[in-house]
Amino acid sequence: MTDFRVPAWGYWIMGVGLAAFIVMLVMYIRRNRGFKRPLFASPYVLWLVVFTVIPCLLVAYFSFTDYQGNFTLDNFKDFWDSNYTARKAMDPEEMKMYEEMGLTLEDLGLERGTININTLVFSLWMAFLCTVICLLLGYPAAHIMANRDFKLGPTLVVLFIVPMWMNFLLRTVAMMTLLEDNGVINSLLEAVGIGRQKLLNNVAAVQVGMVYNFLPFMVFPIYNVLNKMDYKLSEAAMDLGCDKWHTFYKVTLPLSLPGVVSGITMVFMPAVTTFYISRLLGGGKVQLFGDLIEAKFLSTSLREWNVGSALSLIMMILILISLGLLRKVDPEGEGGGMV
């Protein structure tokens, strides 16, 4: 039985780390002759190390080792070529036999596998599409609600937030009931005379579910920024002879950019990594990168965990890169996100 245990050096590192932490604390207190305010952060520093830094290092450790704990790059090769490990595990005698039969790697299903890469690209595409749709739907809504003459605005914003407070899995299941063959929408379509359509268990259903889940995350930050914006600016532009569209294009839009950026972040990130929406609305036919990672960690063979870790690491790095790019547009983080 494969057994997970902290290797001996793991205990050493932990012990030495903890000792170093305490020594540093004591030295700091002595050097500053007393308890200084930065020390209030020390419990959280310890917490961060144990529950954030070490787990991240563990993911990295698993990515670069095989199931026996030896260093290897195979997991990453497996990402690039999903049949890599299978091909490597092939018995050379058996391979020889197949070669003598005149069979190519392709006949054996061992050619370069593109499953991992394809799924990643597909997930990125779905998330991109979802972000664009949310932006196109959400920006006008936020703009309308942020208008000072629109008295209902603040109340309506609350209505946008409320669904976020409801368990999103339940909302996704409710979406399922809507789209089912005998569901509400199909009954309506039949009554109108269009006839039943296949709405569930396809890529479109997954996309609808994603937009449905993440739309409030786009509306809210944009509304926040537009609401705080000095309305006198756009009034001034109007007074100076700008027409409505020009004012929007030259004044409102650039000023609302921070909100847009934080909306994009808050939609794109969960959309890339989701796995439950595709599971519930895709009927097992639509596979996203999150599904792939989850499946690796649910497989009988613990060898798959190392590949799963490598896939997680790749996803983490991708997210960090895209965040870095977005930071460039909104260095102050003015969008403010949820708060």
């Binding site: 209030f40 529950f51 070490i54 407070w165 089912e180 708060v339």
Partner: protein, 256 residues
């Protein structure tokens, strides 16, 4: 004309957001078990809800974890924010970057990394591990909401208190805390809602013995949500809606 168009547009978007919820609520009154057929109006599922041990247990676990995680992360996060705020530039930048990691990491990666930690160190997964995970992803949000309040504070008040003979702990409770309390409360509330709604991280850090609402729903979703679950979510939804509208009304009237 444009005014009407604008309202219709908003109405359509809200309809898109609310139709599934309305369907869910309507179904909670359906006498039959089937999702597809309407078999008459009834309160059966509301009655059964309170006798369903798995749902009541999950509800209890969800709420207790959310409260505990909010409390712990409020304490940990406020202390951390005070500490980070007083740091010199270099260590402050390092801490803020580290603090950003849990927020920017995809949920699935956070969940898996914590799962690896618990399995690797042979800690049995369950209630406590789920709580630890929730605190981990909650603290950064508390820090984020406390930091601005600290920046608004006069830097010298704390030093003055110390000069006048206050101990650091006394100064913390009587000088700093009252000033930053609004930020702490916002942060704790944010933490509460985040952990109430979390699925992915809980999914990887708990055992099947300890299920919160999200993981219970996920395991039920495969073979049809029980109608009692619809009843529970309808109740929770109405409570939340009422609460939010009341709060909103009050803040509106305060502003006016």
């Amino acid at each position: 004309m444009t005014k009407i168009l604008k309202r219709v547009y908003l109405g359509l978007i809200l309809l898109f957001l609310y139709v599934p919820i309305i369907v869910l609520i309507v179904q909670s009154f359906n006498a039959g078990k089937s999702r597809a057929k309407w078999e008459g109006f009834s309160f059966t599922w509301y009655g059964q809800l309170f006798n369903d041990p798995s749902i009541m247990n999950a509800l209890w676990i969800t709420v207790s974890i959310a409260v505990l995680a909010a409390l712990f992360s409020a304490v940990l996060g406020t202390l951390a924010a005070i500490g980070i705020h007083a740091m010199r530039r270099r260590p402050q930048a390092v801490m803020l970057t580290l603090n950003n990691i849990p927020m920017t990491m995809p949920d699935i990666v956070t969940g898996i990394s914590l799962m690896l930690l618990f399995i690797f160190t042979k800690v049995e997964r369950g209630y406590v591990t789920m709580l630890l995970a929730h605190i981990t992803f909650d603290v950064p949000y508390v820090i984020l909401s406390v930091m601005p309040k600290l920046q608004q504070m006069n830097k010298n008040t704390y030093e003055a208190a110390l000069d006048l003979g206050a101990t650091p702990v006394y100064a913390l409770f009587h000088v700093i805390l009252p000033e930053v309390m609004p930020g702490v409360i916002t942060g704790a509330m944010l933490a509460f809602t985040l952990s109430l709604d979390d699925f992915t991280i809980s999914y990887f850090t708990t055992s099947p013995l300890v299920q919160n609402l999200s993981t219970l729903i996920y395991s039920q979703a495969r073979r049809g949500i029980k109608p009692t679950m619809n009843a529970l979510s309808a109740l929770m939804f109405l409570v939340l809606l009422a609460l939010l509208l009341v709060v909103n009304r009050r803040t509106d009237s305060e502003k006016a």
